[in-house]
Symmetry: C2
Subunit: 317 residues, 2 copies
């Protein structure tokens, strides 16, 4: 298995991305090869300084960088020698099995759509975030930002994507799916959630438990919470700011420590024809390491193939 | 000034509502008369037990109760002798200057629309919630649940309603208005927020500072945050659950203590032709006392009249 890492992506690249790759290398089995995509000289100098044999990695030189502020579509086209453009080229050519980056999220999305493309039958790929449950487990919420406006049919697909992720990566059997809403009752909600509720209720592919509310994000009512990308993004940023306030107020608890994004390494772009993982631009070595470990796991369990399989059945039916 | 209190509303009525009224009576000036609407025998027996002179209050007997689970519209019609129906009758007849309740929120909304009605020019009344800001002040978010689907013009009105509330009740001069969105840039968002952004930008009635994000709820970027009732309700319940987790994890800080809804007494229904205040069904005496004090303040500053004035100008222009 070969995992491609965008060494130039994120606020602390190439230093922290390379350190993260070194840390991941030390935890991964020998059968997993890490492909470091970025400025060769910079990478070699960090490896040397850290006393790591450069032969442990495959290094692909990428002389250009897509900056965080660059326009995604333009950047991908105008910087063909950037780490992101090269990463997607390698992914499309199947020279690598996954591509992971803390860089420009928009460029990662656009790159996915231009190169490996979405899985046939998928209307809109989505990104999710992990949610630490009070009972010690993890849940999932999606979409958290790719699709600001969604149709009910799109949310219905998110429910399937989230269920497959929860089942194969979080190892939750028969994951409970909840619809984010403003009341428990079936007739509550806005036009989108009322219509989506009916689709989810009739779906045979998921285990729908009904509506959930903002207060249910952290309890065990649902393992997978479905919402449009606007609502998900607002919730995600609100939850992150709350965690920030807890740290700022110098409060400590084991439970809240689990909110630290550094521990879970990002999210796959669900619904594309390969494994693409993105994470926070502010990621340091620990978060990068976990992003790489997540990539390995997502490739290992064949998530993308499992999604393709589920949606090919759907198309036939 | 006469303030009507729904003694039968909420999970702990009539005990805690009456105790709350007693506590408010002790803090309010003699010129403010509290009108207790509910089961006369129950009220008198609590007042007697507490050693409070029943003559300090005006008591209006209401033999029926609208339960929390009752259907709002049906309940208002089928229980004309309920405390809520009688409260709105008194409010419409101007026998009281405000009506406050911890009871069935839907019935309070329907009652407002049937009796005092919305202010001419107002498309949709809204409810807000106070947000404790990190800098020690308070902010406002609206709508938090009445209007699940909103048009841009409705959000534009919420911006005015929220600004007037912030100015006259929170005493914030020239309050900064932010639009809840998923990015700071003007072109970010869903269809609703993109269109709303343009309206707010062109508005001469408010001080618009642009988009805010989920992470900006508690900082001082905006005093008034505008969103549709779906997004606001999800945020409100998420924030409440976070506060619950902090208490459950036995964490303490002065900042988070300010999240306790008991301290701020509910919210006016903004945009109706009188002062109507609602609060949580789980309110105990302290929250009820603060709901009554808030009623007094909202009547005192003439918020409803100020809103009517602002919107009558708008209609002319």
């Amino acid at each position: 298995m070969k995992l491609g890492i965008d060494i130039m992506g994120g606020d602390y690249a190439p230093e922290q991305t390379t350190l993260g790759a070194i840390a991941a290398f030390r935890e991964l089995p020998a059968s997993v090869k890490l492909v470091l995509i970025g400025d060769r000289e910079a990478i070699l100098s960090i490896l040397k300084r850290e006393g790591v044999d450069a032969g442990s990695f495959e290094i692909v030189h990428a002389p250009e960088v897509i900056e965080m502020a660059d326009h995604p579509t333009k950047a991908i086209q105008q910087k063909p020698n950037s780490s992101i453009a090269i990463g997607f080229y390698l992914l499309k050519e199947k020279k690598i099995d996954a591509f992971a980056s803390a860089g420009n999220t928009g460029a990662m999305l656009v790159g996915s759509m231009f190169s490996v493309k979405s899985i046939p039958g998928i209307m809109r790929p989505a990104i999710s975030t992990l949610v630490p449950k009070e009972n010690g487990g993890w849940g999932l919420i999606l979409d958290v930002g790719v699709n600001a406006d969604c149709k009910p049919e799109v949310l219905n697909q998110f429910a399937v994507l989230g269920s497959l992720y929860a089942q194969h990566v979080l190892h939750i059997q028969n994951p409970k799916v909840g619809l984010m809403n403003i009341g428990e009752e079936e007739e509550k909600g806005n036009l989108l959630t009322k219509e989506t509720h009916q689709l989810l209720k009739d779906s045979k592919e998921i285990h729908f438990i009904g509506n959930v509310e903002g207060r249910d994000l952290f309890n065990d009512k649902a393992d997978v919470i479905v919402c449009d990308g606007f609502t998900g993004n607002v919730m995600l940023k609100l939850a992150e700011s709350f965690y920030g306030l807890i740290k700022k107020n110098d409060l400590h608890s084991e439970y809240f420590d689990r909110f630290n994004y550094e521990n879970y390494g990002g999210t796959p772009i669900l619904g594309v024809n390969s494994t693409v993982i993105i994470t926070h631009g502010i990621s340091k070595a620990k978060a990068i390491k976990n992003m790489i470990l997540l990539s390995q796991e997502v490739v290992q369990v064949g998530l993308s193939e499992k999604i393709a399989q589920a949606f090919s059945k759907e198309t036939v039916a």
